[in-house]
Symmetry: C2
Subunit: 245 residues, 2 copies
């Protein structure tokens, strides 16, 4: 038996999220279907670093699974890419220790959120960035983001549906990168709660367009009340970018 | 009655080409459906600068139609974008002379063809560029392209299905732009035959990967035989970029 770690990318547009759900097309179910074919009908369960929601993309999601096949680790990518649909791509495969765990061993995660500020949406990226045509004061957003750095209880920034009991997380960095008519947010932390990145983005946008004061973020963290934070930004602008172990 | 000229963009992925066909989703049929709604059930026929094939995109296709509605020209874009599906976008609308013709008055057209040369396809651009992982000698392709400039009979580079009687066209410029692991071809000419850009690209790629000599292009033009040219490159890398009048 060997444990294989895969780094995978997917276009979230046509999936109903990462996690298996009955009668839904999900990333996990497509992965398990392909692995089942390679294992001649035997079910092989995969474990991811975490789930992603409907429409959310991944550039570097990490999963692991166990196999009794003696396929060399570097051949798994090609074998799976032959069987997987075109919106999932295995980027890397390696053998790991039998106790490696894609979720529990993750020490840093990076998410990015892409926004198109142009007058019109970019037709060819409409599923890959959020079109938000409002003036944004990036300086204010950076000031607000500074309050979010470090270790906090992020209850205000997590979905009411979150099942996590411990809502304390550490954000190591938030970068807001400006390009012509576009902005990318980069969040690096030790972990993120359900919908947390999208609520952070939605709240920072409200700071950027003047609806919310940058200094209000501190009180917002202390309030531990989801209703006081901004809207959840749409899923299709979000990418799980990288998971580190 | 006023004649309106529209500049439109579309993502060709989910259309069966530009032109109306029974029971198929096409760009023209979606445009006419939206115009019919605006005209309260009256059929309004649109005329394009030319058709595009299945999977082919447009950044600046031009069409015209006649209307008896007194909508100000600058309002047509918003009115249509509200009704059109998300893979068609009206970029510009203006009133033109009653004898303006989107097809017959076009004097220059630009097409671009995007190629990803990387080891793996870019998942997020898989419908918007051709993944071609072979080494290419750009210097050789540029040498070959020089033979194509100017006025020639392009029968060798047009589909056998082409109905055009006059196959003489003028290519004003061919640019081959290199980026990291990517190449874009830009063709500007007074017009292009059916499949011509895709056959030009397919042939230039065969020059680039050494299968065909750059100097063979001259003989190929003279032969006027489609079977002697290269493969037709796939539609999803091609963009109708601009039409000038």
């Amino acid at each position: 038996m060997q444990r294989i770690k895969l780094t995978i990318s997917y276009d979230g547009t046509n999936f109903n999220g990462y996690q298996v759900q009955p009668d839904e097309r999900t990333v996990q179910s497509e992965l398990e279907k392909a692995l089942e074919r390679i294992h001649k009908g035997k079910l092989v369960k995969v474990t991811a670093s975490g789930r992603t929601d409907r429409f959310v993309h991944a550039v570097g999601q990490v999963i692991h699974f166990d196999t009794d096949l003696s396929i060399p680790p570097d051949k798994w990518g090609r074998a799976l890419n032959t069987l997987l649909p075109e919106d999932i791509l295995v980027l890397d495969a390696e053998q790991v220790a039998a106790d490696f765990h894609a979720r529990f061993d993750a020490v840093r995660k990076e998410y990015r959120y892409k926004i198109n500020l142009g007058l019109l949406p970019d037709l060819f990226k409409r599923n890959f960035e959020y079109h938000y045509h409002y003036p944004l004061d990036v300086r204010k957003m950076k000031k607000a983001a500074a309050y979010l750095l470090g270790t906090h209880d992020f209850t205000s920034f997590s979905s009411a549906k979150s099942e996590a009991e411990d809502r304390i997380r550490t954000i190591y960095s938030i970068e807001i990168i400006e390009e012509k008519d576009a902005i990318t947010f980069q969040f690096v932390g030790n972990g993120f709660l359900y919908n947390m990145v999208r609520i952070l983005v939605g709240t920072l946008l409200e700071v950027g367009n003047g609806k919310r004061d940058p200094d209000s973020i501190q009180k917002l963290l202390e309030a531990k009340d989801r209703r006081l934070a901004g809207k959840t930004a749409p899923g299709h602008g979000l990418y799980l970018w990288r998971v580190e172990y």
